[in-house]
């Protein structure tokens, strides 16, 4: 804070000195100072992204690339402008050039800009392609959002998430599990609690919402996607370091939006198994509320298949 | 000369070029060979075509889902469609009459057209009542919702048309006080709008019939 204020003050003082010392050059120097100040800010900023904790380090790479290309253009254009203001200040005895256009120059600039845009776009699309292609070995995790907290469902031992239907949701069945889908019985249900994931294991986050739009985002993982009621959206990532990460809701979802946070912990295998063994499955929940007949029904179905 | 220029030629002129300046000096400031009224009407028709097309796009997007249940088409709806066709036909003859300066005839035809328009609106209201009595509420199914939206919006366009119809009939009301050019122009514009509304209705009705 103090450094920032000091810098601003410094620039203000320099600005005033310039204005007094070179009244006729003040504007062009001020414009140049704005650019130099921006560059200085960029290199000394204390505000930068968090250390990446997933495989999406190359998203950061695309940002850096965009920074260099566009930053160079920004500085070039603005410094050129500042130079023109310096050099061609009004003088009633001078005539300005009369030059309606210069096709050669315009075409050169068009081609250069197009090349620059391609240089940004091509790597971007390559990384995007990776982002939307979920690897085979990714483990499914379902995130179910509601105003204003997060629930999770793990597929259990069979590795398959049971089917759900929003219309099934009631107090006893908050996830809306389909009772006639046996795959759902061993699903691990985590309501409003922390989620643990295993390090170096690619995960596919299946995202659904039961009320309004939400967005499951952890700054350190870089990936995000909206959750839309009626649709299951997804993204994937591989956590590459252990730790305790904060989840933020990134799509405005009503008054409690700012408080819709949660935690994801990335564990080593041992910790993860320990945590998993403490979680309860849908079958256990049904049993605990005396719905064993329904379980039997589901199991029969499984037998028949 | 302006009539022959393509948009490409128009936009590649060099306005600072002395040769071009000589041509440009004679330009009379109009881009299109159309009256302002007609162009204004086209503008409105473009806006409202986009308006209805967007509805139609969402309609066709929604249509494919399993919960879509077709609405019945009451006979009255066919009858109302017929009314629209008849009123358009009357407008064609009103246009011919206006061209031949028979403004008494124009006035009479316009009165019939106005009556038909009210009849159509009433008829649409009856269709609504009928359907509501049959239990086809607006929120019950997306097909119902679209039906009510389409009919309501088309009706609103027709009411807007009636405002213009009112302006038109005023221009031919007092026989001794008719500005001929002006009256002809207005009748023509009103007729174009009427045909446009007929076309919109045919598209909407056809869409609901065959989907």
């Amino acid at each position: 804070m103090i450094i920032a204020l000091a810098l601003v003050l410094l620039f203000a003082v320099i600005g005033i000195i310039i204005a007094v010392a070179f009244p006729r050059r003040a504007v062009s120097m001020a414009l140049a100072l704005v650019i130099i100040g921006s560059i200085a800010f960029h290199f000394w900023t204390p505000w930068w992204w968090t250390e990446v904790a997933s495989n999406w380090g190359n998203i950061d790479g695309t940002i850096i690339l965009t920074f260099w290309v566009t930053g160079a253009v920004f500085c070039a254009v603005c410094l050129f402008m500042s130079y023109c203001v310096w050099r061609f200040r009004y003088d009633k005895d001078r005539k300005s050039d009369y030059k309606p256009e210069n096709s050669k120059l315009e075409w050169t600039l068009t081609i250069l800009t197009t090349l620059g845009v391609c240089a940004l776009l091509a790597p971007g699309l390559i990384v995007w392609n990776k982002f939307v292609t979920v690897p085979e070995e990714a483990a499914d995790i379902e995130v179910m959002a509601q105003q204003w907290y997060w629930n999770y469902r793990l597929p259990g031992e069979d590795g398959v998430l049971g089917l759900t239907d929003l219309r099934n949701i009631n107090d006893e069945n908050p996830f809306g599990m389909n009772l006639d889908d046996p795959n759902g019985l061993d699903d691990v249900l985590i309501e409003g609690d922390d989620l643990h994931i295993l390090i170096n294991q690619p995960v596919k986050m299946n995202l659904r919402s039961i009320d309004v739009l939400h967005d499951f985002y952890i700054p350190q993982f870089r990936a995000k996607m909206d959750m839309v009621p009626g649709v299951v959206t997804y993204y994937w990532f591989t956590p590459i370091r252990t730790g305790d990460f904060e989840i933020l809701c990134m799509e405005y979802c009503g008054t409690g939006h700012y408080a819709m946070r949660g935690r994801v912990l990335v564990d080593e295998n041992q910790d993860y198994q320990e945590w998993l063994s403490e979680q309860i499955t849908f079958e256990e929940i049904m049993a605990s509320i005396d719905q064993t007949d329904l379980i039997q029904m589901a199991l029969n179905k499984k037998g028949n298949n | 000369m302006k009539k022959k220029e393509t948009i490409f030629q128009l936009l590649t002129q060099k306005p600072w070029d002395p040769a071009q300046a000589k041509i440009d000096n004679m330009h009379d400031g109009e881009t299109l060979n159309l009256s302002k009224g007609k162009l204004g009407l086209r503008y409105i028709m473009v806006v409202s075509s986009i308006f209805f097309s967007l509805f139609i796009i969402t309609y066709s997007d929604r249509l494919v889902y399993a919960d879509w249940q077709q609405m019945p088409e009451p006979l009255l709806l066919w009858f109302n469609t017929l009314i629209l066709f008849i009123s358009s036909a009357f407008f064609i003859s009103a246009q011919t009459a206006a061209k031949n300066n028979q403004f008494a005839k124009v006035k009479q035809k316009l009165l019939i057209i106005g009556f038909l328009a009210f009849a159509f609106l009433l008829g649409q209201l009856f269709v609504w009542l009928q359907l509501i009595n049959l239990g086809y509420y607006v929120a019950a199914n997306p097909a119902n919702a679209y039906f009510y939206v389409f009919t309501a919006l088309h009706g609103l366009h027709l009411i807007g048309g009636l405002v213009y119809w009112n302006m038109t009939i005023k221009k031919v009301w007092i026989t001794s006080d008719i500005v001929v050019v002006d009256a002809k122009h207005t009748v023509e514009l009103c007729a174009i709008y009427w045909h446009f509304l007929l076309a919109v209705w045919v598209v909407l009705f056809g869409l609901m019939l065959f989907s």
Partner: protein, 598 residues
Amino acid sequence: MAADSYEDIAVDKGEVIPALEVPPQDLYHAKSFWTRWIFCQDAKIIGIQYSITAISIGLVALVLSWLMRLQLGFPQLVPFLGAAEYYQFVTMHGMIMVIYLLTALFLGGFGNYLIPLMVGARDMVFPYVNMVSYWVYLLAVLVLVASFFVPGGPTGAGWTLYPPQAITSGTPGGDGLGIVLMLISLSIFVVGFTMGGLNYVITVLQARTRGMTLMRLPLTVWGIFTATVLALFAFPALIVSCIMMTLDNLLGTSFFMPALVEFGEQSEYSGGSPILFQHLFWFFGHPEVYIVALPAFGIVSDLISIHARKNIFGYRMMVWAIVIIGALSFIVWAHHMYVAGMNPWFGYFFATTTLIIAVPTALKVYNWVITLWKANINLTIPMLFALAFIVTFVNGGITGLFLGNVIVDVPLSDTYFVVAHFHMVMGIAPVLVVFGAIYHWFPLITGRFLHEGMGKIHFWISFLGSYAIYFPMHYLGFVGVPRRYFEMYDSEYMAVSTNYLNQFITIVALIVGFTQILFLYNIITSAKFGKKAGKNPWKACSLEWRTPEVPAGHGNFGKELPVVYRWAYDFNVPGAKEDFIPQDIAPDQIPEAKAEAT
């Protein structure tokens, strides 16, 4: 020879080419005080009415932004500002600024005042419709204001009004009248705007004076014209989505509402698509950005050319760029929805189209700065604002390249990076143009200059202040600070210093905000006591300065309409003595230089 020599020539115009004449019945004549000043059909008065209304409601939005900034910088300092109020203020601030201020001011305000004067017409082609357009706009504003006073308050759905959240009970104003009034107000606005747009488009196309070809129009007219055409295609999408959402809300239809469970309660809705709304909204919303930006592009081109005493470089390229940007703006809308859960394959298409649009936009920027090369730059206040526009626009434009590139958007979307980006590119940049334009055309409207000293203070604080607000704000976005958060000072992944940055931004925002009061004071006092400007004080070439009276009288151009002999950028023509030649000066009338080059 002095500047007013051109005025002398204008009095007895050469009879080389006969002037056009408008039939007298086409021109509206005011009869009483009411029809002259209130229910007025003169486009100049309508333009002023639009501007005053837009700026008034804009001031409301400005005050709302102070309250929001106070909460972000100094949480819980404002006692009545809870989360619900915060979201309501965010929503209304955004909606007012984008639609009711910028759109109305550029097209309704500047469009009405400048189009007839610049194309050499006596008035808009349908003055009555034009008048109704203003009153419908006023009604839309009043309905919007009314929503502040209904139970539950205005809607707090965010300016994007995404369903299902916009009409559910978890959102402020979502289950009350707030959202209904918002949707109704928007629909009314669209109706009113369509009436105005009808006038702008047809006046430019069909009612120009003799000699005024399309390619001789000042770029201001091109910008406003193209923006209006965009609005013609884009606004229907807004009204369609408003109608459908109103029905979902009031009658329980399910256009946009899927089956959902609201706080444990099963809803009646089923099968609607929230993403469909987003597509409709952004099909309107993205062109809307250009509806605001294109008039700004046009105006700034003229400001630069006039005050740098040099023709705009690459006029044709500028026109093409405006048209191409306008056309492309309809196929990029889904770049607002990269992470909205749509089919990921759309990402490839929309990223490509979005980055393509950067090319014509960049060309415009190049042409602005190349215009300055070997020019004779008069650093008047309008010129200062134009230079500041270039800095902020380029800055906001390049951050658009971040967000338009689909994968880069993934971590940055919905963070403060986005907030900083769109404020820089379609908040600060166009508003700087608005200021520049007001300083530039104030002598045309009132016959007096705005006070220059106050203008300089206003300029430096507004420009440097808003740059200091939004430039560092991008870095909050890199940290990952989410937008639309009522408070978040307890998040551990953010360094404590981000809060200090927020405080800094808030303080600067308040300073910049209060400086606008100085600007208003300047306008009010200068209108009465400002330095007399005389005719054509900036020595501009375009027709709006060539009326017999300044401010222009009834019918704009005295007895005869002007005849146009040249484009609007004949500055420092070789051979001519004066450094400018107005558009209506015939080649053989140029002082002390017979037309060797025109």
